[in-house]
């Protein structure tokens, strides 16, 4: 398939990997910020052909991993109301709240439907005028414009039974928080689809202010391998900068129409990231003029707990400061089939993969 197969080509990947082996000196650690990259790195076995001195760690860009316990509790509370339909992307279904999850509520009879887009959720609302339909908005700058378009459509069509529970977030404040927290990395593999919307400029501050290299990267193996090579070159030349690898989708200015949609509907707010705590200005909340679509402002529901800190150390793992076995819950209460922390929920989460392979994922295949 076009723009997919040619970027998975074995020859190209192997050529790039050869160059990486040639120029990589000393131990280098790069953080892939985006969950999509974590997933692709796992799926294509990218670590298996990187030299042992190159380490990749996963950052905060997996919406599953960073979704606050309190947000799940809110969604669970909402789903227990009479005549409510919860619409959500499939990702969130298994994320644990304090004592329940959407999966669990669905088993107990709640009407929870997986949708592919906000517009599908809106269609469900139009088709069920006697129900309140709540859309769980998760995701970063890539996803938020779609939710914005959906809210505007709901306003235009005067759909009065459609509501949003927003956990939308934006990327740069979280990346800055990680840097300030003292994470020990040599550069960022930056999220290509976030940048397709925002433009490359949002990462410019990182090399300037923190002397860390950034490469905005696509999601195929050729893209990721090339980006690692670019980051190593930056390190070798002591010249950290913000480069675009994913040129076929990312420009300097990004998608102006999408940014406008987002700005019309959302304003930034402080947001809680699982494992990171509150990061100022990192969330997106509906502007006042769209308050009627805000589930939290439009009706009340019980929320089991607004606490976000559990005994798990997902946060320190996500920040690259600790390893999964350091956690008192790892492998005991918290296993892939019964996850407590978000790093165990996601199939590519650090704890999940560590549990499955004892972290031997990238060697011992012969």
């Amino acid at each position: 398939m076009k723009y997919i197969d040619e970027f998975r080509d074995k020859e190209l990947v192997s050529k790039l990997a050869g160059h990486i082996k040639n120029i990589a000196r000393g131990d280098l650690t790069f953080m892939e910020v985006c969950g999509g990259h974590t997933s692709a790195i796992h799926r294509f076995g990218i670590k298996s052909f990187l030299p042992g001195n190159i380490k990749l760690i996963s950052g905060p860009g997996c919406p599953v991993c960073v979704t606050a316990t309190s947000f799940i509790n809110k969604a669970v509370g909402c789903s227990r109301l009479k005549d409510v339909i919860i619409t959500t992307f499939g990702d969130l279904i298994r994320v644990p709240g304090t004592t329940s999850s959407l999966d669990n509520e669905r088993s107990n009879g709640a009407d929870i439907r997986i949708v592919f887009s906000g517009l599908e959720a809106l269609e469900i609302a139009i088709a069920n005028p006697n129900k309140r339909v709540v859309f769980l908005g998760i995701g970063f700058e890539t996803t938020a414009p779609g939710t914005a378009v959906t809210i505007k459509e709901a306003a235009t069509k005067r759909v009065e039974n459609f509501f949003l529970l927003s956990a939308h977030k934006i990327m740069p404040p979280a990346m800055e928080a990680i840097i300030k927290d003292g994470v020990n990395i040599d550069g960022f593999i930056c999220p290509g689809h976030v940048a397709a919307i925002t433009g490359s400029g949002i990462f410019d501050f990182i090399p300037v202010k923190y002397k860390l290299g950034c490469v905005i990267t696509g999601f195929e193996p050729v893209d990721i391998t090339q980006a690692i090579l670019m980051l190593i070159s930056q390190v070798n030349s002591h010249d950290p900068k913000n480069e675009i690898q994913y040129r076929r989708a990312v420009t300097k200015d990004g998608n102006l129409m999408a940014k406008k949609q987002m700005e019309e509907v959302f304003e930034t707010c402080d947001a809680f990231w699982r494992g990171f705590g509150i990061i100022p200005g990192s969330g997106l909340a509906l502007k006042n003029e769209f308050a009627e679509f805000d589930a939290e402002k439009s009706f009340t529901f019980d929320v089991e707990s607004k606490e976000d800190d559990g005994p798990c150390i997902c946060g320190e793992i996500l920040r690259g400061k600790k390893s999964p076995p350091d956690c008192p819950l790892f492998g005991k209460g918290c296993i892939p089939d019964n996850p407590i922390g978000a790093c165990m929920v996601s199939n590519e989460g650090a704890c999940n993969t560590w549990f499955k392979y004892s972290n031997n994922e990238c060697n011992n295949y012969t």
């Binding site: 990218i46 992307f89 997986i114 050729v222």
Partner: protein, 335 residues
């Protein structure tokens, strides 16, 4: 909170295994390796016996319906054990309100499929339950077949050796996605049709051409990845798979990319894994390819000389990773 059964426990992966082990196996005292069919050896009367329940939403999907599925599924469970299917039973749980025309159409396709597969449906049962007590129609079919003692080893793979070749008889994932598409819940349209088919005649040809078929299994719930992991665990050996050789149709690939699914975990209803002794793979492949139900057959990997039970996937891009046993059902994702 009391523990309840969740959908994940029906997904065919790890959680299903645990349910079967903890609830059924120990109470029924089943000692044999758990295979699709049981070999019953009783006073010189060796038969193969199997049973399967069919629930599918919707009842009709491109390429088949629940009735056709109920016949093919049981025929295939028998055939992959090396048996020749002889007769089936069929039991129906019907929700009141099911249009009679639908039932007739479903039963007719069962009759047609049984004729095609050359098996007889010889006994059955019918229950009608109140609205809401089941979802339109559930069917259970059981089947028996005869088996040549030379084929007993097939279902437990006891002759498998390093170097043996793994073959599948065509592209994977079509059934699962045809059903998902027919549900109309997510807004996509796909030309994918279910591969639902009885494979006993095809398997008969394979067994005739090669006396060195070491294992067969149909790739139903949980897909190829599940069967490979079960096999690796059963024989205590590593298995190596070349991702690029696994046939997958473009529309399936496209849909999987978009929903974040892995086609190797998707259910098939007309696909089998065959393990053949090295040296026999070409004639097996040729005979498969000469049949419409095997025209897209591929050699996808081999049994490794490695005493660790695991499945290693050589990815299209030249990487390697472990192909895991699935856990829970695959959900469409945006990340």
């Amino acid at each position: 909170m009391s523990v309840t059964i969740t959908l994940n426990q029906g997904s065919g992966g790890k959680q299903t295994h645990r349910l079967i082990e903890n609830v059924f196996v120990k109470r029924f005292g089943i000692a044999e390796p758990l295979t699709d069919s049981a070999l019953v050896r009783n006073r010189g009367m060796d038969i193969v016996f199997t049973t399967d329940s069919f629930v599918v939403d919707p009842l009709f999907f491109p390429g088949g319906n629940i009735g056709k599925l109920a016949v093919c599924g049981t025929v295939n469970d028998l055939a992959v054990s090396g048996a020749v299917p002889v007769c089936l039973s069929a039991a129906f749980i019907i929700e009141e309100g099911l249009p009679e025309g639908d039932l007739v159409e479903i039963v007719q396709s069962m009759a047609d499929e049984a004729e095609k597969a050359d098996v007889k449906i010889v006994t059955g049962d019918t229950k009608v339950v109140e609205k809401g007590k089941c979802d339109k129609l559930f069917i259970t079919t059981s089947g028996t077949g005869t088996i040549n003692p030379d084929q007993w080893h097939i279902s437990i793979g006891e002759r498998i050796k390093p170097g043996d070749k793994l073959i599948v008889n065509g592209s994977l994932g079509n059934h699962a996605l045809a059903v998902l598409g027919a549900r109309n819940q997510l807004s996509f349209r796909t030309p994918v049709i279910s591969d639902c088919a009885s494979l006993n005649h095809l398997i008969g040809k394979v067994l005739k051409i090669s006396g060195n078929i070491h294992f067969m299994r149909d790739l139903t719930r949980g897909g190829l990845a599940t069967v490979l992991n079960e096999l690796a665990a059963m024989i205590g050996t590593g298995i190596s798979i070349n991702e690029g050789s696994v046939p997958i149709d473009d529309p399936v690939k496209g849909l999987c990319e978009m929903l974040g699914f892995d086609p190797l975990y998707l259910a098939n209803e007309g696909k089998i894994l065959i393990v053949a002794r090295a040296g026999d793979e070409s004639k097996v492949l040729d005979i498969l390819k000469s049949d419409p139900l095997g025209k897209d057959s591929h050699i996808i990997g081999e049994i490794m000389d490695d005493r660790r039970s695991r499945v290693i996937l050589n990815t299209v891009s030249g990487g390697k990773r472990i192909l895991e046993m699935p856990s829970g059902i695959q959900l469409p994702r945006i990340c």
